[in-house]
């Protein structure tokens, strides 16, 4: 099986990667140091691996890496850090929405994609758009409250 190269924009930077034909995007990203992309179920169920491609949240664990060729990919590494947290990250902390934290990068990427598409999402929009992100700690309410808080801030 021969390795092939693909080129895409990752967190604003155009890069070329050598991949195996069947390699999934999550494996490639983690292999290249984007370890904020979490591997959970590895079958497109849990959402921990969520990244944004061309503005849409997708499961990188089942997306074939070659389908990212020429596209714009964002991972949690583009969002914020400890010293300069993104409003979503700050709101999650303020609402006490993070326990073990493994699902949170995926949650943030789904919420970020939602915010980019809808300036004023309803509760139903938030729940529908984040229905692919599982959390086994929190019971979701505080996560949704944090997203709602940021949405309301953006609106005002």
């Amino acid at each position: 099986m021969s390795r092939r190269s693909i080129t895409f924009t990752i967190n604003g930077e155009k890069k070329t990667f050598e991949i195996e034909p069947g390699e999934k995007l999550a494996k490639l990203l983690r292999r290249k140091g984007y370890v904020g992309v979490k591997e959970g179920c590895d079958e497109g169920t849990c959402g921990a691996c969520t990244v944004i491609i061309d503005g849409h949240a997708v499961f990188s664990c089942i997306l074939h890496a070659f389908l990212a060729d020429g596209r714009d990919v964002r991972t949690i590494e583009s969002i914020g850090d400890f010293d300069n947290p993104h409003p979503l990250q700050a709101a999650l902390v303020e609402e006490g929405a993070v326990q073990c934290g493994y699902c949170i990068p995926g949650m943030i990427m789904s919420a970020e994609a939602l915010m980019q598409e809808m300036s004023n999402p309803t509760d139903d929009d938030i729940r529908t758009r984040m229905d692919g992100n599982l959390c086994r700690c929190t019971g979701y309410e505080k996560i949704w409250a944090a997203v709602k808080k940021v949405a309301q801030t953006n609106k005002s």
Partner: protein, 281 residues
């Protein structure tokens, strides 16, 4: 399926040429989500058709012409007169999957739990296949077995034509799952056209709890010309499905799935009738 290589097609002509060259080994791919459910024993070369095959939804006379690489999320978000597939899309899997999967992928290889074949059968949609020549197949022909049988190397699905519902017509849709994002245990889709207080036409389709999605013509026949009522819908669903063979599994008996089908078809008929009479459904 195990991918041994991949190719990217820049346009339709290139996609067709690559697929012809590859023959049966070639695998058109847009979202790629269905590969999760296939065997690794089968070696294939993927052909990225995202830049070759249309995406988008456009009104075309009395129908909506949907490009096969249209993501299910786009179907979910689209609003238009007589457009009903948003209700099917929003119940399918999760947002991330809806952002990846395409309508073409959902209907070209039909898995037992597939939702769109059921809805398209009820709506009497048409599928356009293009190769050296173009042909249009109605849903009954397209889903009379695995649609993959219809495609020769180099042929691709180019459009799904979905009738836009008009006054006096209604669509009902019911899907039973164990979890909100779970696979369907039973799916029912119904189209009805009213003639006053009677049913002029009904198209009823079911999937998931049967060997392959298909029309429930027994229910349709019992409803044709009949005065509409919830009791009539329940009776037609019960009697019209009685002879069908249902699939059990996951702790559910064939009898239970059959009962579930009758309940869901009855519910979908009620929903469709309310819509046909100008209600909210």
């Amino acid at each position: 399926m195990k991918l041994t290589d991949f190719r990217a097609a820049r346009n339709l002509a290139e996609a067709r040429a690559i697929l012809k060259e590859l023959g049966p080994v070639g695998l058109p791919m847009a979202g790629g989500t269905s590969l999760v459910f296939t065997s690794e024993k089968d070696e294939r070369v993927a052909v990225d058709i995202n830049r070759a095959v249309p995406a988008g939804i456009a009104r075309e006379n009395g129908s909506y012409r949907v490009g096969p690489t249209t993501r299910l999320a786009a179907l979910q978000m689209f609003r238009g007169d007589g457009w009903v597939l948003d209700r099917v899309a929003v119940r399918l899997a999760t947002q991330q999957i809806r952002n990846m999967s395409t309508i073409g992928g959902n209907i070209s290889r039909v898995f037992p739990w597939a939702d769109f074949p059921v809805a398209l059968l009820a709506l009497n949609a048409a599928m356009v296949i293009a190769g050296d020549a173009e042909r249009t197949l109605n849903a009954d022909e397209f889903f009379d077995g695995q649609p993959a049988r219809l495609f020769q190397p180099g042929e691709l699905l180019m459009a799904v034509k979905v009738p836009a519902l008009t006054a006096g017509q209604g669509f009902g849709y019911r899907k039973q799952t164990q979890t909100s994002a779970g696979f369907s245990l039973m799916t029912a889709a119904v189209f009805v056209e009213a003639d006053g207080n009677a049913v002029k036409t009904a198209r009823v389709a079911i999937g998931a709890g049967v060997p392959f999605p298909g029309r429930a013509t027994g229910v349709e026949d019992l409803l044709k010309g009949r005065k509409a009522s919830e009791a009539a819908f329940r009776e037609a669903a019960g009697k019209g499905l009685a002879e069908l063979k249902f699939k059990g599994g996951d702790g559910m008996s064939e009898e239970y799935i059959g009962h579930l089908a009758a309940v869901l078809v009855g519910d979908a008929l009620n929903e469709a009738w309310v819509a046909a009479k100008g209600g909210a459904a």
